[in-house]
Symmetry: C2
Subunit: 332 residues, 2 copies
């Protein structure tokens, strides 16, 4: 490992996993941590528990702000474990000189998103640091969810499952990138930042056989699929042509040489569902604004265990790798 | 309120309370939040839940480091509600270029302190931000504790209670101040940073009738006593001569014009216990290293409801006010 922290170590990919494993997992070693799920399942399977710190630049972007993001991010991690977001904490680190009006707008966004999830903030912490000690504002939210359906796990994906994307990918990453670079688009590019509990609740109510779910944040869809392939020791074969990507995001990727599958999402998730339920799951997802472009994207095989294979429309194959190197920092 | 955030709004005193109430409580309004306890009691009284973000400068100080602090701080908030620290989350924001060795030392301190509490980190988050976006490292920990004795509350202190301090006050604040100013002392001034669950566990096991407990962090003992006086609508009469303050801390206070009662502590707490149990509680506390200077400091009356009165050794009286203005920032 390097002697000092590098930006790549926060990329949600290879170097990030290495840092977490060599420093944090090593000292905090315990079975719950090593499951590497979106949220820890505690209290004999009754509750899900997860934390996330948010540092996005700019703070306000098309489709959301750091406040909305800070609630969606944590509530979505609970939803991904089949848990209803219930109790939340909110810890704010804010820089001396930050606008009270902006803070008020951010907290208003948080309250709005909490209501969508049916969750409440039950305790908090506010620290003010001298100018320059933090860039504007960082927010941590930690959440407890009540598990509605147990057994959902990234370690259980098998060849009985089909892989679905809940919506088109890369919009959060592309939006933040465009905003930071001052790029302007005729189109209405905006972040996919949204609360996923309503979609998950509906899928559960309709009895969809869900094996695993994960929101494709830092590291994008490529990170989720690679983690699942490794954790469940399976091969995920992705039909490249089936990946839902908007024309705008595709355009940004082509200009800049990004892969849409590496870009961060904040309201788009990957599902592994029992294959016979897959078409119905897509139908249900498409009834939501946040699931309009849901699609089946991959099957599970044993061809290359632990690997993700991308099948091109022309019949060629290549591996989809876990992202590495310096991806866009301060995105979520 | 001001138009921009001021350092005073992070002081644990008057302006801090105003910010929290005008922005956060207003939008997040719910009965649990308004109880203003050290931790929220959730899940029908079974669990305690609390969060804290840590930003201390310097990161390493006499008696601890940001890692030890980040576990003590959150576990102590759970202990103060009579809850055994159990499940923890850890979210780190670290600056590009930060030393991996220093990070490893910090995480080692966390692991050591977790073991003292019998708690485990079950999930985490690691974000790397570009150089300059954060000063070195911020850590958030959030904890769930299992309530061992219910009904402990800052809203229930009455004239049947006696007020105790678990140890001498002001050492954390004085240590950080001295380190930052490059002051050197012959004496062994060090932070009181410590895990309080072992002390609380013993008090509960011995059947001490505990009404309320609070660790006297930002804002010090003055903040705790004033909050209790207001929350329980009582008058707390403090015998000034009974306040345990070390000679070194007293010296620093005299030189710099601080009040020891306003200085932060990280392993010293205030207790309201049934008066007949008070002497025994002090005895039990004194069996611990972290309670060697435990003392009865105040009685509860109705003389000035909502106020804290300081009784001097010469018979004069004055109010002990909630701290205000710019106290030392980045202390915890």
């Amino acid at each position: 490992m390097t002697k000092t922290i590098t930006l790549a170590q926060g990329n949600g990919g290879v170097e990030n996993a290495e840092l977490i494993s060599n420093i944090f997992y090593r000292h905090f070693k315990n079975p719950l941590l090593e499951k590497s799920e979106d949220a820890a399942i505690i209290d004999s399977g009754r509750l899900a528990f997860t934390t996330d710190s948010f540092t996005v630049s700019p703070l306000f972007f098309a489709g959301g702000d750091i406040g909305k993001l800070s609630i969606c991010g944590t509530c979505n991690d609970l939803a991904m474990m089949g848990a209803k977001p219930t109790y939340m904490t909110c810890a704010v680190m804010v820089e001396e000189g930050f606008s009270i009006e902006a803070l008020n707008t951010i907290v208003t966004s948080m309250a709005k998103e909490l209501a969508i999830n049916g969750a409440t903030i039950v305790c908090g912490d506010t620290k003010v640091v001298p100018r320059g000690a933090v860039d504007k504002i960082f927010i941590n939210t930690t959440g407890i969810g009540v598990v509605q359906k147990g057994g959902i796990s990234s370690n259980s994906v098998s060849d009985k499952d089909t892989i679905i994307l809940s919506n088109d990918i890369g919009r959060h990453g592309a939006t933040i990138f465009a905003a930071r670079e001052g790029m302007e688009f005729e189109s209405d590019l905006s972040s996919d930042c949204t609360s996923l509990w309503p979609l998950v609740e509906k899928l559960l109510a309709e009895g969809i056989g869900i094996t695993a779910m994960r929101d494709a944040t830092r590291g994008g869809v490529a990170a989720v699929l690679n983690e699942w392939a490794k954790q469940s020791n399976i091969c995920i074969e992705v039909e490249e042509a089936s990946l839902p990507v908007s024309d705008t995001v595709r355009g940004i990727c082509e200009i800049l040489g990004f892969e849409a599958t590496n870009l961060a999402n904040e309201g788009t998730f990957v599902l592994a569902v029992k294959s016979h339920d897959a078409p119905r799951a897509v139908e249900i997802l498409r009834t939501f604004d946040a699931g309009q472009n849901a699609a089946i994207i991959a099957k599970v095989t044993h061809q290359y265990a632990g690997k993700v294979v991308l099948l091109s429309p022309w019949g060629s194959k290549r591996f989809m790798e876990l992202p590495s190197g310096e991806l866009l920092p301060r995105i979520c």
